[in-house]
Subunit: 321 residues, 2 copies
């Protein structure tokens, strides 16, 4: 299926919303649909569109996969409660960590998260809720990068020739397919979502698992979660397209209290970009680098080394794995 791109610059948000609400309502009919909120702008917009189209026939879940940032589940639920959309937080940490155990290959890690998400947790929720439709925030860049073989996005199924109806027992509705990130932000604003949502940094489907090189364990996620909180708070003023902390698997010589400490490294990336297709590092003042390094080596246990990404996309990608 060829997708006709709708460019942000010429996008009529109100018309787009009206069209999509109508189409969702028609597709779902008398049935029920579910949506998985992650707090990101894509899934937030899809949830609002679904809510407008279906009202109580839409059930919104937040799957707590154990890979989210500090306080994320609670904050997302609170935000949508204000819009009259009840969000059920589904605890699934153990299932995800069990699926990720021992995996070091990035594609295998993404696949484990995809399978746990769609085939296990979501299938269970759909059965329980008797829904036949899954509303999902896939955007054009996700599809392109997956088809090109650059990166497997966790939410791209049909484009890979996977029929979710056959594979998982439900149909997927993807209203944001013609848009890129900048278009989604415009629609989010038109839907009345707050700036914390429409201007929010992209955050990957596999969440913090995409920012751990090597095996994803609860302990390693906890380290990168701490580093992420520091990076996001220190770089707020940089108004970057995206910033992140990445925990490396390599170990580096370090010293603490005059003794050798063979420790870990955190890489910080802070991107300037319009549509995520290309990106450049943001050049930060020296004092920001100094503060980042000082806080991360002090507050994240076992970290002796901190680096800052200086390569562009391409040949880099925005996320690490």
């Amino acid at each position: 299926m060829a997708i006709r791109e709708l460019r942000a610059a010429t996008l009529n948000s109100r018309q787009f919303i009206k069209d999509q609400v109508k189409e969702i309502a028609e597709t779902v009919g008398d049935g029920l649909a579910v949506t998985a909120l992650s707090g990101g702008v894509d899934s937030s917009v899809v949830t609002m569109l679904g809510h407008r189209a279906l009202g109580e026939k839409l059930k919104a879940y937040f799957i707590d996969n154990g890979l989210m940032r500090q306080d994320e589940p609670r904050m997302v639920a609170e935000l949508f409660a204000r819009f009259g959309v009840p969000v059920e937080i589904v605890p699934a940490q153990k299932e995800f960590f069990r699926a990720l155990k021992g995996l070091v290959d990035p594609e295998q890690k993404r696949e484990a998260i995809t399978q746990t998400f769609y085939a296990k947790v979501f299938r269970r929720l759909l059965r329980k809720s008797r829904a036949r439709f899954l509303l999902q925030g896939t955007i054009l860049t996700d599809v392109e990068e997956t088809v090109a073989g650059i990166k497997r996005q966790h939410n791209v199924l049909e484009q890979l020739g996977i029929d979710p109806k056959k594979a998982f027992g439900y149909a997927v509705i993807e209203p944001l397919l013609p848009l890129r990130k900048d278009g989604v932000r415009k629609v989010a604003k038109a839907l009345g979502l707050p700036k914390s949502v429409y201007a929010r940094m992209p955050f990957p489907g596999p969440a913090l698992a995409a920012r751990v090189v090597g095996e994803v364990t609860p302990e390693r996620i906890d380290l990168v979660r701490k580093a992420t909180a520091i990076v996001e708070s220190e770089l707020k003023a940089a108004r970057a397209f995206q910033c992140m902390a990445i925990l490396h698997e390599d170990r580096f010589a370090g010293m603490r209290d005059g003794k050798r400490d063979f420790g870990m490294q955190i890489e910080v990336r802070c991107w300037e970009s319009v549509d995520a297709r290309t990106a450049r590092p943001v050049w930060l003042p020296a004092r920001v680098h100094e503060r980042l390094a000082a806080r991360i080596t002090t507050e994240v246990p076992g970290v002796v080394s901190v680096t800052y990404n200086i390569a562009s996309k391409p040949p880099s990608t925005m996320e690490a794995v």
Copy 2:
């Protein structure tokens, strides 16, 4: 043995040279001594002191361990020829790479280099030359860091309780033990060595092997050698205490020609320091970072990601492993 430190600020270089030349001459007596030049300021100063003390009774070698930088063996030999000191280049690449094969632990890698250097290549040279003394450029910081257990310097033996006479069959003379790097530079200048030597950046004993995380192979040394040449040429103007390229073992998502390319990462470090005991990153202009990243991802095959170190020493160390 307690070492009495001679501080650079109050060091009388001429007196120091006179004293050391006398002591070396007395210690070696009628015998022969050898020195292993690496091109660094420490081994260059020791070679000049030995040359003044012993003349033709000193035999200077450059061990080509396969881990040196671009053109280093040839350039060092040419420089000392100008001072009337003949340098014999000893090809030993195969022995070092054989000893390093399969090793990933930094201490094991250092140990393999130490053993190959002292117990194999050097012992052979000493037998051939019938020398009983090895002149060596160990400085105070090497000893302190080894004793503290921060990092095993390849040239510290007695301080670790190893008797080189018993272990390897020769005695080690270390005239620079009371000095730190700044003191050695002062002596180098007083000896008439050119600025390219006395102002030269420190380079580690294990050479480029200290800048490869994981296994050291000829192929991986070749990659870090290419990156090192780029970093040293692009950062010449920064007048840093030390700058380096480090090849990581971790792999990162990247893209080339629109296709996924799971590639390598090079970390650049550029240090501001007086005596190597503490150090801070040099804050470079954005265009320097851009050029470094562009050249490294273009000229070093398989590299998709480039980072810049932003942590200080401590808790980092200057070299990576």
